[in-house]
Amino acid sequence: MNTKFLTGVLAAAVLSLGVAAASAQNPPIKLENVAELSGPGATVGTNWKNGIDLAIAEINAKGGILGRKVEVNHADSQSNPGVARSLFQKAIDANPYALLGPGYSGSVKVTASLAEAAGLAQVMGGEAAELTMAGHKNLVRTSFGQQSSMPKIAKYIAEEVKAQAVAVVWVNNDFGKGGRDMITKELAARNVKIVADLSTEAGQADFAADVVKIKNAKADVAFIYLNEEESARILKELHGQNVKIPLIGETTLLGQKVIELAGVAANGVKGHVGLTTDAPVPAVQEFRKRFQAKYNYVPDHNGIKGYLSVYMIKAATEKMGKVDAKALPAALHNITITPDKEPGILMEVTVDEKGDLDRMSFLGEVVDGKQVIKQVLPKLK
């Protein structure tokens, strides 16, 4: 009796050891995300975070990456580059497989060198042109940089709208200034004159004076490059002051959040959209439904960016055939990911040697409170 009992205990012990060993062989893949979860970038960071969580839940439900579950830890940068840097240090100390975020370009700039020194991949949301020009080998975008999107907008303004004089309204932070510098250069190259160059503040509430300046400048077109909430405010003011010229923007101006906040004032707004949940692509529509079902709001482009960041890591890892943090940065460059092999990528994307993206994009318009895609711009290569 006693021997039987002992054998039973031994068998149980061996079995549990075996289980422990098996899970030690397959520890979860750890990701660290540093994003703007509070402060002025909270809309950006929350969308980004929820996109990441959704992707990870889906991947884990299907067995993980190369048989290993994925885990993520989220940290709040308070939209402050100094805090982002400290938290990035903490994220690196945790020895993750890859780093996600931040979304603000300034925060990306202070953290990129840390990721590079640690030899870890950083898949981020910043759009400022200079981020991938500094030569960081570990940095990968999830959306177009301004050097990809602004030429498309300038071409649209010059050739389709046939504008001669443009008023440019921009938010004076690194995102807005980067876009303003790039569009100014691109418009000048197409002989379009900038008749008003209006710098505004992040968090600005009153745009009455700026709108008066747009009216006085006699512009054919106003190009508006602000963050979400400010975009909605200026649209309301333009509507209130009865400004009738075409209003053109880049992704944000036609975003879901802006349309919700601006109401009827958003109608008629046109522009280029890099990533949108209104894209006429079934996979994107499906993503939007899943996201909305889980978080009870319609994601903007930042939600898609967060979602794609995880799938980009998955695709690169599976291409390598191993979970190797040091080799991941190289695997994330010069790679084309297609939806037939990795459905989570939603649209075919190519990452070049600098970490910039090539993907199809859209020209859209807001009609009756909805973003409508008027034209699909194919991948460049």
């Binding site: 690196i92 300034g106 690194d174």
Partner: protein, 319 residues
Amino acid sequence: MTLQRLAVPGAILAGIIALALAPYGLKNYGISILGLWAVTTIAAIGLNLTLGYAGQVSLAQGAFVGIGAYATAILMAKGVPFGATLLLSGLLCFAIGWLLGYPALRVQHHYLAFVTLAFATLAFLVFRNEQWLTGGIYGISGIRRPVILGWNTAPERAYFHFCLIMLVLVSGFVWWIVRSPWGRAFLALRENPVRAASLGVDTRRYTLMAFAIGAGIGGVAGALYAPLVTYIDPVPFALSFSLNLLLMVIVGGGGYFFGPFVGAMIAVLLPEWLRFAQGLYLVAYAAAVMVLLVFWPSGIMGILDRLLRPADPNQGAAR
């Protein structure tokens, strides 16, 4: 008596040794937060001199830290050695503090707060808009940590030790000032300016002096901040930083020598410790600060002072 006399220097020495050894048990993140604490404490010590000792409410301290940081970053990029930029940053802020003080110190209390608030906003706009000098909104990146007398401070731990040495030096300097005739004059100004003037204290000169020295110390903090973060842009030096420094001095205990140390610890470290509360951590931090200020307006050092010295009628203004 001798033992009691030795207690305070002994405790300070033990504190310095504990701080010097702290990074050995920490990862890079912990060390960088400690470095941030040391630099912020220096800035708060400067404000404590202006606000706590001389009673001048300044909302410009964050701007002085910014001026120091930009001066250091710009000069280092031009090849000036760090030792010289550190000194120049301090002197530049001292000079600007003095010049600002002339018109600003004609007013007192909340009026002075408004004047210095305007200065802080102006400094932010200069950092952001004068792109030829400051790099504008893109900031200045790639700031190197210095090699001081052959000692390479590039690793996190080495730079923290350097900041700690600077903190000890600045503290020693302020300790001396507070106990010098100047410091006595500052206290006299805070407690009763009319009486101080009637006793022959040149109130205008001493107020200016307190303001300018506080600004100069802010400049030194800025000079240390730039290589700590290795990148500066205008955003960290916006008005909210000045308000945060004011909060540190008040929460720590204005006019107490160790007030800024405790205040900076609360402002820099408490939000980090509260991160386990996830989405609620900033709410918890704000609630803790509000409770503290409602029930103990003299700050943490005020509480300690009351607990350690329950009834001493001889305790005057000097603390």
